[in-house]
């Protein structure tokens, strides 16, 4: 197991290096620079700025410097937000985005799996149709429209939740719901189809022939086998929710990391783009690793390479 994780970490570093390089070069190819604005800067000032941030050096020197800095977990200063480093931005914004994301993932998984199970157990009856209508709506309605709907009905019309901002737990519910709606719908469909597949298996008939009740069969025999595809989806889902939250953060006025990510691209704020990309990449790679480890726990047939045989 330790050997397996070590090997995976090595690959992660390799992928990270490739992501960093690709981002670095694509960013430079994009026209414009951090100091291009409506007001033309005097050439002397621009030269000074470039020198200050090291942009006057040849690209390979900049590239090397950047790699060295990343290894030391220093993403450098922001080009736009004076006196703030990228590390500051991440440290401020990430906890908020993380909390929002986790809440959304929790809602998506809990409700999605529940809806999927109900739909599968009541296959082709009204609970199934209801759950699947909810799922189709969830998949086809974009999160920003869902957000506006929630704000309009639950906050403005009914006044149950605050409209926006990030102050208390009540403030977190609407954005988390809006963020969770699409993945929840997707998980519901995924759970339903994989439940139906498992329910058609012979071993469910075996379980029934032992005289187990349908509740026990569902809990002990069906769900565990049906959850594997859902676990697979968890890796990309985590990344998607964390990165995808910027629209929701905008709508609800949440001071998260997503907002920085979008504005930094428009600003050509090189260090922020790089820093946030690297940060998100690490999150994604770690979540994929966790998913792979979770596989081995859920399904004993999946042996993690390097694991001991017969364990």
């Amino acid at each position: 197991m330790a050997k397996y994780i070590g090997k995976r970490l090595l690959y992660m570093i390799l992928s990270l290096w490739m992501i960093v390089s690709a981002t670095f070069f694509f960013m430079r190819i994009a026209p414009g620079n951090p100091f291009a604005s409506e007001k033309k800067l005097p050439p002397e000032i621009e030269a000074n700025l470039n020198a200050h941030f090291g942009l006057d050096k040849p690209w390979y020197a900049q590239y090397w410097e950047y790699l060295v800095r990343i290894v030391n977990w220093d993403f450098g200063p922001s080009f736009k937000y004076k006196s703030q480093t990228v590390n500051d931005l991440i440290n401020e914004g990430f906890p908020v985005s993380f909390l929002l994301g986790m809440e959304a993932i929790f809602i998506a998984v809990a409700l999605g799996v529940l809806l999927g199970i109900i739909a599968a157990l009541k296959h082709n009856r009204w609970p199934d149709y209801t759950a699947m209508i909810i799922a189709v709506l969830g998949i086809s309605v974009p999160s920003f429209i869902m957000a506006s709907f929630l704000q309009y009905f639950l906050a403005i019309k009914m006044g149950i939740f605050p409209v926006a901002r990030w102050e208390s737990f009540m403030h977190t519910i609407l954005p988390a719901l809006a963020l969770a709606s699409t993945p929840m719908a997707f998980i519901a469909r995924l759970t339903r189809s994989s439940m139906l597949e498992v329910l058609a298996n012979d071993y469910i008939k075996t379980a029934k022939s032992k005289g187990l009740s349908s509740g026990v069969i569902t809990i002990k025999h069906t769900i565990r086998n049906a959850l594997l595809p859902v676990v697979t989806y968890m890796g990309p889902l985590t990344a998607g929710i964390l990165t995808g939250s910027f629209v929701i953060e905008r709508i609800f006025g949440i001071p998260g990391l997503g907002a920085h990510f979008v504005t930094s691209i428009n600003n050509r704020d090189y260090t922020v783009i790089m820093g946030v990309t690297v940060f998100y990449s690490i999150l994604l790679l770690v979540s994929i690793l966790l998913v792979d480890i979770a596989y081995g726990i859920i399904d004993p047939r999946i042996k993690l390479a390097g694991g001991k045989k017969g364990e």
């Binding site: 071993y203 075996t206 029934k208 022939s209 032992k210 025999h221 017969g310």
Partner: protein, 355 residues
């Protein structure tokens, strides 16, 4: 001998988009304590549906027991609810399925799959159940059961899994074991071992077995009595000797003729029954086998044949046994094995309806 199971005029149908499929059309048989009844027939003859109906394991809906009775120790189980059935399944009746590769839960330890039934039916503690599971694994011939009990199905070979399946089925000492083609998915040497094991366990535990198969070689090996099914009906039923040495129904002749034997000639082609079974959405008029039957009489296309009794235990559903029927000779391959059995009545007797 005491009757354990009596099936009377069982009818099972399935609602499909194409119409109602009458999978089982009036099947009656009984089973004594400690006896093995083999049900043979080709695919789609209704043998699996019959056996799964006995445990009420057919999916309902679309399936439905549309008529008849299933008496277990004199108690009709057809009207029983799911909750009442849970007390019968595994405890009174158990089942072994065809494919041991798919009939065990891949993410659950073998031991837990055995103890589940024990904990449910015999109120055993977890530890007692586990000890019993080890004992059962040893009983079905699995080496190192203390280690095996903690393993997952994918760590077992096919034959081992079927042994584990048998251990699961026998865990709560059921009175009736239904084996639905338990050896079909196994290779021949393993088949022989599994059959040997089942016979051995049957004599130890005094279980009755319903053995479903399409392999007549297996039938000869394990069964006391045989029921031949075709198109959802039993067309011939008798002791093993009666079915193998004195078959009366043309379909049974066809089955026996299509079985290769040791002394059959290399050059001779294996006989086959021509055609395919009828569509049970609209069962044909008259005898369902008539269209494929080279011995079919004119009346076979008009009226369903009644059951005739040839001996105390031997029944066949064919017009050929009617006193007015022409005398016909069975195919050469069957004739070779025919023998005069002492128990045979002088003349076939028409079985009155309602029997």
């Amino acid at each position: 001998m005491e009757k354990l199971l009596e099936v009377k005029n069982l009818e099972v149908s399935f609602q499909t988009y194409g119409g109602t499929v009458k999978a089982v059309r009036g099947v009656s048989f009984d089973l004594h304590k400690g006896e093995t009844l083999a049900i043979v027939g080709e695919s789609g003859s209704g043998k699996s549906v019959t056996s799964q109906s006995i445990m009420k394991l057919i999916p309902m809906p679309p399936g439905q027991i549309s008529g008849g009775q299933i008496l277990l120790n004199g108690d009709d189980i057809v009207p029983k609810t799911e909750k009442q059935m849970e007390k019968i399944r595994g405890k009174e009746i158990s089942m072994i399925f065809q494919d041991p590769m798919t009939s065990l839960n891949p993410t659950m330890k073998i031991g837990n799959q055995i103890t589940e039934g024990l904990i449910k039916h015999q109120n055993m503690s977890k530890q007692d159940a586990k000890n019993r599971a080890i004992e059962l694994l040893r009983l079905v011939g699995i080496p190192m059961p203390e280690k095996r009990v903690n393993q997952y199905p994918h760590e077992f070979s096919g034959g081992m899994r079927q042994r584990a399946m048998i251990a699961i089925a026998l865990a709560a000492n059921p009175k009736l074991l239904i084996a639905d083609e338990p050896t079909t998915a196994l290779d021949v040497t393993i088949q022989a071992q599994i059959l040997e094991l089942m016979k051995d366990l049957q004599s130890k535990m005094d279980t009755s077995i319903i053995f479903i198969t399409h392999d007549l070689g297996v039938v000869a090996n394990v069964a006391d009595r045989v029921a031949v099914m075709y198109a959802g009906q039993i067309v011939e039923m008798g002791t093993v000797d009666e079915i193998f040495y004195d078959p009366r129904h043309p379909y049974t002749w066809g089955l026996l003729a299509s079985m290769p034997s040791v002394d059959s000639d290399d050059s001779a082609e294996l006989a086959a029954i021509p055609g395919t079974p009828p569509d049970l959405t609209n069962p044909p008029k008259g005898d369902a086998f008539a269209a494929r039957n080279s011995y079919a009489l004119a009346i076979d296309f008009e009226e369903e044949p009644p059951m005739f009794q040839i001996s105390e235990t031997h029944f066949a559903k064919t017009w050929l046994l009617h006193p007015d029927a022409p005398k016909v000779e069975p195919p050469e391959a069957v004739k070779k094995r025919m023998r005069q059995l002492s128990s045979t009545f002088e003349k076939p007797v028409l079985v009155k309806e309602g029997k």
